[in-house]
Assembly symmetry: C2
Amino acid sequence: MERCEVVILGSGNVATHLAKAIDKHHHVAQVYSRNHAHASELANSLKDCTPTGNLDQLLTEADVYIVSISDDSIGNVIGAMPKVKGMVVHTSGSVGMESLAHLKNPIGVFYPLQTFSKDTMVDLSDVPFFLEASDENTLHRLEEFGSFLSNKIYYADSEQRKTLHLAAVFACNFFNYLLDISTEILGQKGYALDVLEPLIRLTISKAFEIGAHDSQTGPAVRGDMATINKHLGMLDTNQKEIYRILSQSIIDRHKNTLKYEQN
Amino acid sequence: MERCEVVILGSGNVATHLAKAIDKHHHVAQVYSRNHAHASELANSLKDCTPTGNLDQLLTEADVYIVSISDDSIGNVIGAMPKVKGMVVHTSGSVGMESLAHLKNPIGVFYPLQTFSKDTMVDLSDVPFFLEASDENTLHRLEEFGSFLSNKIYYADSEQRKTLHLAAVFACNFFNYLLDISTEILGQKGYALDVLEPLIRLTISKAFEIGAHDSQTGPAVRGDMATINKHLGMLDTNQKEIYRILSQSIIDRHKNTLKYEQN
């Protein structure tokens, strides 16, 4: 695919990381945000890019329009867009491609399976992108467009993509929350999360090497109720509920296995 | 500390990893397990080591006795030990040092904060060990003993150690279980956990760089109820309960922050 003219709709974390990476290989000509100051901030960090806070002023001749805004706003923004020429894609894990279907344009989805925050650099070349498009030709063009950003370009229909996003909530968002709870517990005795770093890194290596089911360890998988009850007595109401539900679920999943018997 | 004569009581995962590492710098003279075959298997993997399945046959002149068995069995084994000469330590995160207190020996705790399984090699030099001892001299000797195994030797009293163990259950055991759930969800659409690897690794880096509380992302921290409800509809009863409790807890923790407002 030749150098494309690109319009980014959105100025949040995903929009920002994508815009900066796309700008290296293509031309991000315009950034739209309903908040003009946010559009300006992002546009100013790119080469020859104009900000706008007004959908009516959207460039109509660009090759690719990337809608990277909150899931709830996609319908409204798509509904209010002027008629444009190029392909229109969104970047959401949990919104179906059909949300773009009333556009006459070629449509698609360009979903990066990664967590983005403003202050953390991300090497997009290692990030898996999951693509979907309204037709073979659009999919092919989207693949070419994405191949400049990442080495990991996959296909996923809307159902598959929703599943990927759901799995990511467990492995990323909920995992991070467990680290938040650990940090809080450790802090009560003056320790930082760092003391757990070797443990956390090995937990991941084992899950990828032998599978998370087989690498489960801890009091619950051993059916060690004495330790479980001791731990429940050390936790506040909210942490206790989380500990109780997760332990019971691990017990239910493993109670017929050898590990459970080992206790 | 000079080369020590060591007796290992136990033949499970922790006992096995410790025995093999200790054997490089000291002499593991004997391994006890109530299951003689297990004692033999471990003893045979060490240099000049005798197995026994009988506590009465325990060597009495060793320098260090390491009790590395399930928490529930520590009391029984300590109670049935013959009178021995050296220091006696256990390796448990959640059992107090006082469980060894009726011995006349110098006593202590030698707790490695790591997850051990039979088939996964662990580099102990990177593993934090948390030590406690009945007196200054014993603590000093235990420090010297441990310094051959690991570069990370810390002190923790029994309360601190229980807290470390509890935090590790969240960051290791429960985290692994989330990966187990993710693996199951991904498998329904033909994906392996590998597609989440870059996401998981970045989640960890961010938690250590900017702190887990500040790096929280996902539908719950944004108060994105539409996505949360969609996800709940895709899960089985058990997964749904876990998703619901963790999301509600994240919402409660972040509902007065800017991230929540951003949705």
